[in-house]
Symmetry: C2
DNA sequence: CGGGGCGTTGACTTACCTCAAAGGGAGTGG
DNA sequence: CCACTCCCTTTGAGGTAAGTCAACGCCCCG
């Protein structure tokens, strides 16, 4: 049982729905097919149909869409405990690609197993519905960020959000965190050019707000950074189980 | 029973999950509390907690976020058959505001009724999970649009997407559709200024692609508009029930 | 030692914004 | 029936944030 409790996904879902032993066991069975993937090689290509979903247990991945002109928009990054490609399963065909940022470990979940688990374990379906809603809230915040903030605020907001998400799984704090992303990743995520990302990072560093260097993010002045970004972590908050 | 079958939400969900009579009846009960709202007065304010959700049966609404500096980003528009504020219920507190664009009719759904319906009708929860995923796919496409397309392509893509969505509920075609939005709505949705929206609309009109005027959108050259926008409606497609 | 990926910086261009002003249509009140 | 206002649209002039192009440095790895 202790193995089950330690899965990052289990911990995340338990924050919303108090899961019974039977439900935890179902969740555990979904983790059976462990697989590894190397950085840079896509797990899922946009346009593919009848894909499996994955539960990420180690490493970082990004979900993105490629435009016909070759430009890329990263929609979101996933960290341990996050679902990958759940939407692809439900919508039958994948609207996005998924690329491991570093080498990763993930459990493959067949569409049929997932649908069956939901059918027999309604509270599990509820918990996943909650997780999907939380993901959507992040995408929405990201949308607002790109639509209505300038490059500095976007960058600040992005680095702060990532910090909070990592802190929730014990991988970061208000001091900073390890971050394997390149400036190209940041550019594609924030709708900027890589050149401009570099300039923005320099400005933030020289203003004494945050340092992004050598795979590590250091918050030099957390409060001022929060002010610059208008960052409000409410949409990430865990307010405790809604379902007893 | 025929009343049940005619609800736009029921029609939408049935495209994904073949619902039994019992499930349709549960869905019908959720439609009990019919209410009207006038254009412009918010249904839900961002930051409110313990809100009810709504099922929109008539009219248009928009979901948006206001920034501290007063600027606004519209995340999405909802049309009949769409859920309003579902995420607010699941996440306990609303991360966005909801404003009727015109006078609307909607059924109020209490959080407790919704959760109970899901618990007793797992396939209904599945159907809603699918609907949420579809909404998320639209937000993702919107994000890509704002992040990686210029103003003309954004506008073209937006008008085309709306056309397809309306066509799915019988309110539009490849010829065009009625549209109650102002240029300010378009600006807030596309991350542009209202002035620039006006210029973009003029360009598209003078290029013989699409005309937005007097509450009506007319596609003057559908194919060329699709090409300009790189529009691929795959993410909106109804491929038929996934669950028999 | 050479090459490729990533980071850094400068010079120039551009898409979009802001400010400003004016015109049309619908509703309202005199 | 006119005058007024409000909301939306339209257009022009000038400014700026961010993009593009180009070059160079660093470091790791084959």
């Amino acid at each position: 049982m202790s193995i089950i409790q330690d899965s990052p996904l289990t911990r995340k879902l338990s924050a919303f729905v108090a899961l019974s032993d039977a439900e935890l066991a179902v969740l555990d069975r979904l983790h059976q097919r462990r697989r590894s993937f190397v950085a840079g090689r896509d797990l899922v290509h946009q346009g593919q149909s009848d894909q499996a979903a994955y539960i990420l247990s180690e490493g970082w991945v990004c979900s993105y869409k490629i435009q016909p002109d070759g430009s890329r928009q990263i929609v979101d990054f996933q960290i341990p405990g996050d679902f990958l490609g759940l939407r692809s399963v439900l919508l039958h065909t994948s609207d996005h690609s998924i690329e491991p940022v570093v080498d990763i470990q993930a459990a493959e979940v067949l569409a049929s197993d997932l649908l069956e688990a939901f059918a027999h374990t309604p509270r599990l379906a509820m918990a996943v519905l909650w997780a999907v809603s939380r993901d959507e809230a992040m995408v929405v915040e990201h949308l607002v960020c790109i639509g209505r903030r300038d490059a500095n605020a976007r960058m600040a907001h992005f680095l702060l959000e990532l910090g909070v998400r990592l802190a929730l799984v014990g991988m970061g704090s208000k001091a900073g965190y390890d971050c394997p992303l390149t400036q190209y990743h940041l550019a594609d995520a924030l709708g900027l050019s890589a050149v401009h990302v570099n300039r923005v990072l320099r400005q933030l560093r020289e203003a004494g707000l945050v340092t992004f260097r050598d795979g590590h993010v250091t918050f030099d002045d957390y409060e001022r950074l929060v002010a610059l970004a208008d960052f409000d972590p409410a949409y990430l908050d865990q307010t405790g189980p809604l379902l007893k």
